[in-house]
Amino acid sequence: MVRLITHNLLACHAKGCTQNNFPLQFKDVSIELKEQEVNSEFVKNFLPRLEWKALVNTARQLGDTSLPEELPDMVDDDFLKALHHVLFEIHVEEGAMVCPNCGHSYPISNGIPNMLLSEHEIG
């Protein structure tokens, strides 16, 4: 599976692609929702590491509108629950991730993204 927590950390690593290479854009995806136990501690801890705008936009593209546009100052349980759901429970199983800069498409099959580059794309 590709979960949004991991997607939020991924940038294109093709040769020379160093700007505007994040976030990778999901294309033609099929998703599965899978419950996972809430770990508020982890989510709270991870918050500063997230690129919030990218996360919100990606979640919305996948049909989840539960996250606020701006990161709230006060983090309450409802917010953490919604964030947990977005980060861990939306699994992208098929489709592709396309780099907004160079257009490289990373196919996702069976929940596993293929990050392999061809010879001329290796930095």
Partner: protein, 214 residues
């Protein structure tokens, strides 16, 4: 018996048959588990803090299952599709990526709280093709540079591997240092030919960790 990395590249060597054989071999499972626990010990994570770890060359998820048991979230990378398929069948909890670490990693700076790697980086010592970007120093440089950037400051990466010579250890550590890492080599059971285990313990910044050691 030849060492697997001298026979064929990992994605070819670990075809369906080898991947299943490897994963179901109880002796290999035990050795993998022991080395994973030892790597975690050397990683020296702060106790009781949630963390996201990177499992480099996660294979069929033998080490990842231990990371999950220990309460860590993890992301696993492997270049052998058959190994990843076995990991899927085993329903491991980490996210899996088909990735050649010699091409470099594509994670934002500071993404991970630490990284482990069990019996993997010796594969980087073999040239995959005659193309200049495939030479072992190129592949090692891309790997260590992008790994360094993907880790938080401070943090650690512990990579167990099987060198065939001291020159190989020297090559790997010097490239890791050039990429910005501190740290060095820890050898367990140095006098036993069979049990000898080499761990490359790399520090980003001061190395962080729960307590001072290593």
């Amino acid at each position: 018996m030849s060492r697997p990395e001298l026979v064929a590249p990992p994605e070819i060597y670990y075809g369906d048959t080898e991947a299943t054989k490897y994963t179901n071999n109880t002796r290999i499972q035990q050795i993998q588990a022991d080395m994973t626990y030892r790597a975690l010990e050397l990683l020296n994570m702060p106790p009781d803090e949630p963390a996201l770890l990177l499992d480099i060359g996660c294979g069929s998820g033998l080490s990842g299952e231990i990371l999950s048991e220990e309460g860590y979230e993890w992301v696993g990378l492997d270049v052998a599709p058959s190994m990843l398929e076995v990991a899927l069948e085993r329903e491991v909890e980490g996210d899996l990526f088909l990735q050649d670490i010699g091409q470099g990693l594509g994670f934002r700076p500071g993404s991970f709280d630490g990284a482990i790697s069990i019996s993997v980086i010796q594969w980087l010592l073999n040239a995959e093709t005659s193309h200049p970007t495939s030479s072992p120093p190129h592949r090692l440089t891309r790997f260590f540079t992008t790994l360094h950037s993907a880790l938080r400051n401070p943090s650690r990466a512990v990579l167990q591997f099987y060198p065939t010579s001291d020159d190989q250890i020297q090559l790997i550590t010097s490239i890791a240092q050039k990429a910005g890492f501190g740290g060095g080599i820890v050898v367990d059971y140095p006098n036993s030919k069979k049990a000898r285990k080499v761990f490359l313990c790399l520090f980003v910044g001061g190395g962080g960790g729960g307590q001072q050691q290593v």
